[in-house]
């Protein structure tokens, strides 16, 4: 009987072209887009000083001022690869600064240095250059290392392809709850849920078949992404791939049971969609699906808020496994999933006892 129920679920799901696109196309498309667009962000490369320039305007400078200016020019070139360019019209130079053609303009009048920055659109590189100006102008800065040593850490950092492959896949798996909730709503709309409840199968069997469908969708997504990310993006999943699949399977079970609970509570598909989408998107924002998670971890308050997102823990766990470490992050995430499955199952049982499950007008 359970087999028949499972077969029905699969046939119903996979006859829809949209569902096939969702499983096989969209996750990788999302990963491709995000990993390409955020490549520099994940690598902490912001092009801060690219094509940067600082103008200067000479208004009867002293010889000493000129010497200071030349020293600053050397400092700027070494520290930020930003060049100094002379302009003949100060007001025109200021206008160009406001039009983002330079980080700022320095007016040298006798022995005074006035730095002008745009009052409304100073770029990040401009702020650093201004700070350099403030700290170094008029000082004899030694060239070379001058007592500063550098230690280079040779360990590789996770790149954007690997980051978004893992986080993006986990994010897309969360949409399984949307499909399962819609599937349960359909059972309620068409009245089949009452028949299932009264049959030998009972509502537990319905949950098992829905969860099995969810796990299959999740595994198909994972296998597709694994194959495409390895071959197209060159992502090396590492030696813990089996554990990563286990974590993802756990996630698909938790999402399926969550979807089933929402399907049991919601009065319509629209309500179910809103609840699931809001939960998924909130979890995605906080979990690092749309921005590298380090940006969120570095922000006060937000660094606590992100911990409510299952996606954040999924990313942590998958990140550790990708680095070849089966550590606290994975145990914590697997325990969290188990706890959520138990909680959602209890809710499902309680809701399933309601006298009337069929939706009016369904």
């Amino acid at each position: 009987m359970l087999g028949v129920s499972l077969k029905k679920e699969f046939l119903y799901f996979f006859k829809n072209v949209g569902n096939l696109i969702f499983v096989f196309v969209l996750p990788f498309l999302f990963i491709l887009l995000m990993s390409t667009a955020l490549k520099d962000y994940v690598a902490n490369d912001f092009d801060t000083f690219d094509n940067g320039a600082v103008f200067y305007y000479l208004d009867r400078p002293t010889e000493q001022s000129m010497a200071h200016l030349h020293r600053f020019q050397e400092v700027l070139a070494e520290a930020a690869q930003v060049k100094l360019e002379e302009v003949g019209d100060y007001d025109e130079g200021k206008r160009k600064v406001e039009q983002s053609e330079a980080f700022g303009i320095i007016k040298i009048h006798e022995s005074s240095f006035s730095y002008y920055r745009s009052p409304f659109n100073e770029p990040e590189g401009g702020r650093i250059v201004r700070s350099l100006f403030e700290a170094t102008i008029g000082k004899a800065i030694p060239s070379g290392d001058a007592g500063i040593s550098t230690q280079v850490i040779a360990r590789p950092k996770m790149d954007s392809n690997a980051y978004f492959t893992l986080t993006g896949l986990a994010f897309f798996m969360m949409f399984i709850s949307l499909m399962i909730s819609n599937s349960v709503i359909d059972e309620r709309r068409f009245g089949t849920i009452e028949r299932i409840k009264l049959s030998q199968l009972g509502l537990n069997a319905m949950l098992i078949s829905k969860a099995a469908l969810g796990v299959c969708i999740g595994l198909l997504q994972a296998v597709t992404v694994y194959a495409l990310s390895s071959s197209v993006l060159g992502v090396n999943w590492g030696s813990m791939t089996g554990w990563m699949f286990l974590v993802l399977t756990g996630m698909s079970i938790a999402c399926s049971v969550f979807g089933a609970v929402v399907g049991m509570i919601a009065k319509s598909k629209a309500v179910a969609n809103s609840v699931v989408l809001m939960s998924v998107m909130l979890s995605a924002y906080l979990g690092g699906a749309f921005s590298p998670v380090y940006l969120l971890e570095n922000m006060n308050v937000v660094n606590y808020m992100i911990q409510i997102s299952p996606l954040y823990w999924a990313g942590k766990s998958l990140g550790s496994l990708h680095a070849g470490m089966l550590d606290r992050n994975s145990y914590l995430f697997l325990s969290l999933q188990l706890g959520l499955v138990v909680l959602f199952y209890l809710l499902y049982r309680i809701l399933g006892r309601r006298a009337k499950l069929v939706i009016e007008g369904g």
Binding site: F120, K157, F290
Partner: protein, 340 residues
Amino acid sequence: MINMVKHSWLIFKKTPGYIHTMTTFPILMLLLITFILAYSNTHNIAVIDQSTDGTGSPVYEALSDVEGFTLVKTSEQDAVNKMLAGNIELVVLLHDQGAAKIMRLAGGAEVENSVKAIIKAVNAAPRDAAITVDINQVKNKTLNISYAMGLMLFKFITASSTMAALLIRERNNGMRGRIFLSGINTFSYLGGKALISLATMTFTALVYYGVCLLLRFDFGMNHTIYFLFLIVLTNLFSVGVFALLSTLLKDEGALWSIATFLFFPMAVMSGAIFPYDSMPSWMQNVGAYVPQRWITGSIEAIQKYDSVTPALPHIGLILAVSVVCYGLALLNTRKNRGAF
């Protein structure tokens, strides 16, 4: 027409959750994402003062004063893991007699040499007393609006899906047919819905803009009113596109798929979410044809050139697409007046 506007307002008002969906929730969400989604270009560095002779303290102060650097607290033990996770770009260990050690990953750090210059400046002899230095003062700003601009535009562009859902529902349940039988013409019917939708979204935009001004957010432009103007233009685009979609879709359920899986990738491509200039060229080429790019491009142009003139071609394109979409929606609705 006026009656239709009034009727549309009543219908929208009676729709459960409409007011909250269109005003309260978006405003809260937009403010929240402005805080949360910080695609900030600030450089995070860790400075650990291990000096015992007090020479580390002025260096620490000088580095914390650099605008564009954010100092992250960490221990030396956690520092490498934080670098590997991307939380920090480099670590500065300050030792006695002004000595310092910089730890960074093999890939390099953009601001390494700037950090070195600041350390050397602190350790150098005091500034030549003969010279004077001044920098123009600017108003203190808080968060940069650009950080969350992509999702804000995404939210405004998809906001008219509520209007589209209502139009589809009224068509499918026969309400629209009955309205047309009462003598209301297509222009008034669609216009009423569009005007109310636009007015509600404009109200939301106004409140959001006002709150941003109050919180002294950084708009990156001299005349911030242009920003409000462009959001209203986005609302207009949203109304046009979703009015058209309401005539093409059979079921309102498909609206969320379009909002999520069509408009979000378009937002990614458009440079609304991440800096357009740092995207690969193939992505920029695709993004150039995406309407969100025209909106983002207009905002960028105004920010960059402090004038609305360079943004006019993009503004014209948005207006044209909005009008064409709305016109097609009118035609489709007129053609299928009796369709259920």
